[in-house]
Symmetry: C2
Subunit: 189 residues, 2 copies
């Protein structure tokens, strides 16, 4: 997928050219001065499904204080930083956005969001207590009984899909296998 907005070399500032580097099969922004190739790759967003109660019958959601999707509910999640592991990112985002202490369980959903150039990864997690302390990206952090999840006010399709998987797997009672799928692009009204 082309990124026509990339027009200068990040390393030396020379205007880049769109061309196919040797041995490759697609156009990239290439620097004619220093040879730097500006690869554009999908980014990873990592979060958690923090559940509460012996039976995991309630889940923590955060009301977003920032765009995109301000005023909608999300699972805690955010961009994986260079130098960070997926698990560390999952815990950090849950702490930063909800002030929640969790015990990470297994990786749970791995979802391609092709139209956004992202991969969303959610871990299952267990809330250790109910002392929440939402950060500045969050208007409110609240633990919802599963029957009260605000399905029509969720922020992202990957959050919806991950919660759907959790409810279905929990109802089936056969554990929590990892789900991998691509999220179809749906235009917003």
């Amino acid at each position: 997928m082309p990124r026509p907005d990339i027009r200068f070399c990040r390393l030396c500032g020379t205007p880049t050219e769109q061309r196919v580097p040797p041995g490759e099969d697609r156009e990239r922004a290439v620097c004619p001065a220093c040879g730097y190739v500006d690869y554009v790759n999908p980014t990873a967003v990592v979060g958690t499904v923090p559940v509460w109660g012996e039976d995991g019958g309630a889940v923590l959601l955060c009301l977003r204080a920032i765009e995109p999707r301000r005023g909608r509910w999300t699972l805690p999640a955010g961009f994986l930083e260079y130098g960070e592991t997926l698990a560390a990112d999952a815990e950090r985002e849950t702490r930063e956005e909800a002030g929640a202490r969790i015990e990470l369980e297994g990786i749970y959903t791995v979802l391609d969001v092709v139209h956004a150039g992202q991969v969303h990864v959610f871990y299952r997690a267990r809330l250790l207590d109910l002392d929440l302390d939402p950060g500045e990206e969050t208007l409110e952090a609240r633990v919802f009984p599963l029957a009260e999840i605000p399905w029509d006010e969720l922020a992202f399709l990957t959050v919806r899909r991950t919660l759907e998987c959790y409810l279905a797997d929990r109802a089936a009672g056969i554990g929590f296998p990892v789900h991998t799928e691509a999220i179809p692009w749906v235009p917003r009204p």
Copy 2:
């Protein structure tokens, strides 16, 4: 992790400044002219463990024709491209590097390679036939009985770890759960 080599805005060519953007917690290369923030995120490398035989008793490896690790054996794998799903990347790399036709099975290992700013993901896969046709990144594609895997000539630690998981899980006979872990940095001799 800082990237001091990023010194110019990719969008407008202005020299960037290292500073902490509003609402964030770490320094980024920020453009003082157009406001662009040059986020640096880990990249995903996706591949397969292509096995052969009813009992999955043999595995396809590729002898690398390119650096890094030219002349060492790897599982087929490569960088996830913008606009591509993880599964599509896994199949593409297997086709490009080995000329192999496969049926993808589940996601299998998800490995942080923090020191390289990468996440490596391997899917289990079944070879559909033995008609291999290695591409230009590969000197030779060969199906090894598991007892003959060239452990001392493998290209990457994530390849080694994924093969170790496969052999252990296959021996245990209780299926192939997803493995997630961080690969420790080991200096090369």
